[in-house]
């Protein structure tokens, strides 16, 4: 039992669960305080119940279907950030890579009608991967060859990407239909999932995302390529000393991170979510959700699958919460607290170890 508890992986899961508990508890406190000011509010604990189950508020499988649909983009941006973390980089540019990827996918699916419509989504996804990868590549090259901090270049690229897209969006829009989306046939196929889950936005994107997560896990943990990338990330000097091309490693890491976020963009913009490109010039929130997802999932690709599901469910609970009289923003506060708490996961882990070793010593 003690050995099980001292296992690093188990400790990480415990720490993440503790962070979630802490965040939920904090949310209850906020709900409790705000219930004094809102006349028609329900009891805080009822509201907590709404939050925890809110994502599944629809009868049957519909709620699950919606969560599955909404988690795939943030699962991919989460993978993007988590992959970069594992290789020693901080990809804060997922937002820009995401929006560029989404735009290229949408452009291909609307304009490249010379390709049969039912295969168009595959080309769109490939385009998104390449486009997102190129945005990541820029940060990677700057870091590897010019020692420009990737955080700085990626933040700049976020804005460059956003403004580029909002300027180019007129290419795919037409006068009569400014919020034009890709034709239904060219979208990511649903393979009947929409019928099963009773919700027309549920498609196979979640399976693509989970497959990619498993693929990334295998690359990182099982291949020589992952071994090289992680060596560059953990200790660039030692990697170079061992004869690994550290510059290539850093460049490739950032490119892959960008490609993952770009793929996330395709998951949104060529699907039945029919999100349109924002002309209000705001950075795509999915990119920053990715940071939360990666932190909560401790950068482990498999952990990220679960943390993405959790965050998606929590976000989904917002509307339900507002119906029970509370402010929807409470969910955001809870998410933020959970992220802070999981950023302190090291402290949590240390306390856990202390707790268990003390207990063990008493025995």
């Amino acid at each position: 039992m003690k050995k099980f508890l001292m296992n690093a992986g188990v400790q990480k899961i415990f720490a993440a669960l503790l962070a979630i508990l802490f965040g939920l508890a904090f949310g209850v406190v906020i709900l409790f305080i705000s219930s004094f000011f809102i006349s028609k509010a329900s009891y805080p604990l009822d509201a907590l119940y709404t939050i925890v189950t809110g994502g599944l508020r629809f009868s049957g499988l519909k709620g699950l279907g919606i969560i599955m649909r909404f988690m795939s983009p943030i699962l991919l941006t989460g993978l993007s950030v988590g992959f970069a973390f594992k290789t020693g980089l901080f990809n804060i540019g997922a937002s820009g890579q995401f929006v560029i990827g989404g735009f290229v996918a949408a452009y291909i699916c609307i304009k490249w009608t010379f390709i049969p419509l039912e295969y168009l989504w595959i080309v769109g996804i490939l385009g998104a991967v390449i486009a997102g990868g190129i945005v990541g590549l820029i940060s990677g090259l700057l870091k590897a060859y010019r020692n420009v901090n990737e955080v700085i270049s990626a933040i700049m690229l976020n804005y460059i990407s956003m403004i580029t897209v909002s300027n180019l969006v007129s290419i795919i829009a037409d006068k009569n239909n400014p919020s034009r989306t890709s034709p239904p046939l060219s979208r990511i196929p649903t393979l009947g999932l929409d019928k099963i889950f009773g919700n027309n936005t549920t498609d196979i994107s979640i399976f693509i995302a989970i497959l990619v997560a498993i693929l990334i896990y295998i690359i990182l943990e099982r291949t020589t390529f992952g071994y090289e990338l992680k060596a560059c990330g953990y200790n660039r000097n030692a990697a170079r000393y061992a004869g690994i091309n550290d510059r290539l490693g850093i460049t490739l890491s950032m490119t892959i991170a960008g490609a993952l976020a770009g793929l996330g963009g395709a998951m949104v913009y060529i699907s039945s979510i029919t999100k349109v490109f924002d002309s209000l010039l705001t950075l795509a929130p999915e990119g920053f959700d990715g940071i939360s997802v990666a932190l909560l999932g401790m950068s482990n690709p498999l952990g990220i699958i679960f943390s993405a599901a959790f965050i998606a469910a929590l976000k989904n609970a917002g509307p339900a919460l507002s119906r029970s009289g509370f402010n929807e923003e409470v969910v955001k506060i809870m998410t933020a607290v959970i992220i802070y708490a999981s950023a302190f996961s090291l402290i949590f882990r240390e306390k856990l170890v202390q707790f268990f070793t003390k207990k063990g010593a008493k025995k």
Binding site: N235, N237, G243
Partner: protein, 508 residues
């Protein structure tokens, strides 16, 4: 007898390790009290507790018979405790005088008054024979001088309990002698010194009493006069240690590497850090490059091992010029490199032991197939290495190397580098910061390699190591080779003259 410092039952715990376990240390007034122990024995932790940098879990401190509550260095200063850290705390573009008064400036009407400070500094310098020039910039004076400035800082603040943390690590033999004289001078003026070290010679030379720490516990406090080096080292390590290196005369064979007119550009300034260096390394010999830290040996090794580009010259290894070859080429052609900084270059600290042991061989067929790592072979290989080189760690091949002790980290690197069966082994400061037991082991291994007909290029700052292990010594000073000497025909003092640049001759 009243003690000037009493540390009573100090216990300091870090996560996973007890750094100080119920240590009681009593220091008499006016003595040089040495603190001896291996790396990680808890010497620095104990002194940090005394200096207010760490708060102990248990125990109390008594200064001059009264209980003292020291929670930060300022408190320590109030009790008259001063410390010369291993890495000096000096502002490089300030003058000596400015550094000395830093933090205790005399101010009159809002402006600095230097005249009085200058007088006091000069008085102190004269009284203790420190020979300090108050107006020189720190960046212009030697390391030995910088250390005197640190000592002067303590004297200026009227500290009478002085802690020296491994003060001789950066000094030449001449400077060490000078320091010893200064320490005795300080004692005669009524100061008390605590002297942290792991060098037995120095303890025999100056200390009155010595406390030995091992694995966080106080083993004993003994009079230096009545103990031998052998008994001290046995107490420090916990077993008998061979202090002398046993080896037969070298039998040099053919030249394996010829360095000619090698130059390296410095990263810090425009000048060359290595200037027109030429030498040959033969199979079956240990060639040592000796010199004081910062005289170009690091860059020279970077050039030979490919970590940095040459700015000129050639390195002929088995007839091939290495100047444009990659690091991978070198390791595939049996050049091994034990790097100077094992944390910066030698190990990926977040990888476990098994992963670190394949750092240069992970791509070979033994450890991968179609790009997928073969974990069974990797861990089998690690288990073999652990057995062969006696690498000790918490959880065997799965231990994260960050959690391993310095000596075992170094053994892991040694294991990895010897595993490729090198023809040329480049070992840079292989024993830095290691305890006597580990040093003995590494020296033995280097000599075994030599006897097996390999070439060994040893770069070391440690004079005793240079003298006892090498077969031939090249002295480097300010990026140039200034002497080639035979260790059997030269004294440490004479070698020191070469190292400090006071003596030089042309090297072929």
């Amino acid at each position: 007898m009243e003690y000037v410092i009493e540390l009573r039952n100090i216990t300091k715990v870090f996560p996973g390790i007890i750094a100080n376990d119920d240590i009681t240390l009593k220091v008499k007034k006016g003595e040089i009290h040495a603190l001896l122990g291996e790396n990680g024995a808890g010497k620095s932790t104990l002194m940090s507790v005394l200096f207010g940098l760490y708060k102990p879990e248990k125990g109390s401190i008594y200064i001059k018979g009264k209980e003292a509550h020291i929670t930060n260095p300022n408190d320590a200063n109030r009790y008259g405790i001063g410390m010369v850290h291993q890495h000096f705390k000096l502002v490089h573009n300030f003058t000596v005088l400015e550094n000395v008064i830093l933090g205790v400036e005399t101010v009159k009407n809002g402006t600095l008054v230097m005249a009085e400070a200058r007088r006091k500094v000069l008085d102190l310098s004269k009284r203790y024979n420190l020979f300090i020039e108050p107006d020189h910039l720190i960046s212009d004076i030697s390391v030995g001088m910088q250390q005197r400035v640190e000592i002067l800082k303590m004297l200026y603040k009227n500290n009478d309990i002085l802690i020296f943390d491994e003060p001789t690590a950066v000094l030449t033999p001449q400077e060490i002698d000078e320091l010893m004289k200064i320490m005795k001078e300080l004692i005669s003026e009524g100061k008390t010194i605590i002297f942290i070290t792991h060098k037995l010679n120095e303890i025999k030379a100056v200390a009155d009493r010595v406390s030995i720490l091992r694995k966080g516990k106080l083993i004993d406090t003994v009079d230096v006069a009545s103990s031998t080096k052998e008994s001290l080292s046995e107490m420090m390590v916990g077993r008998k240690v061979l202090l002398e290196v046993n080896k037969t005369p070298a039998e040099p064979k053919e030249v394996i590497m010829e360095v000619s007119h090698l130059s390296m550009k410095s990263k810090h300034h425009g000048k060359d850090s290595v200037n027109d260096v030429s030498f040959k390394v033969r199979r079956g010999e240990i060639l040592c490059i000796a010199g004081i830290e910062g005289n170009g040996q690091t860059d020279l090794v970077y050039g030979i091992t490919g970590l940095q580009k040459l700015s000129g010259g050639k390195i002929l290894y088995k007839g091939v010029d290495l100047a444009t070859k990659s690091i991978r080429y070198r390791s595939l052609n049996k050049i091994s490199h034990i790097p100077e900084d094992r944390h910066k270059h030698g190990l990926v600290l977040d990888y476990n032991l098994a992963e670190n042991l394949i750092l240069q061989t992970y791509f070979t067929d033994k450890f991968q197939k179609f790009g997928f790592l073969n974990f069974k072979n990797i861990y089998d290989h690690a288990d073999k290495m652990i057995q062969r080189f006696d690498i000790r760690s918490g959880s065997g091949s799965h231990s994260v190397t960050r959690s391993m002790s310095g000596g075992n980290q170094q053994k892991a690197i040694l294991a990895r580098e010897l595993d490729i069966n090198p023809d040329l082994l480049i070992a840079v400061q292989p024993t830095r910061g290691l305890d006597v037991g580990a040093i003995e082991y590494i020296h033995k291994t280097l000599i075994e390699q030599r006897d097996a007909g390999k070439a060994v290029l040893l770069v070391s700052l440690e004079l005793s190591e240079v003298m006892s292990v090498s077969d031939r010594i090249l002295v480097i000073y300010e990026g140039e080779l200034v002497g080639e000497v035979d260790p059997t025909k030269i004294t440490q003092q004479e070698l020191g003259l070469y190292m400090s640049g006071s003596k030089r001759e042309k090297v072929e």
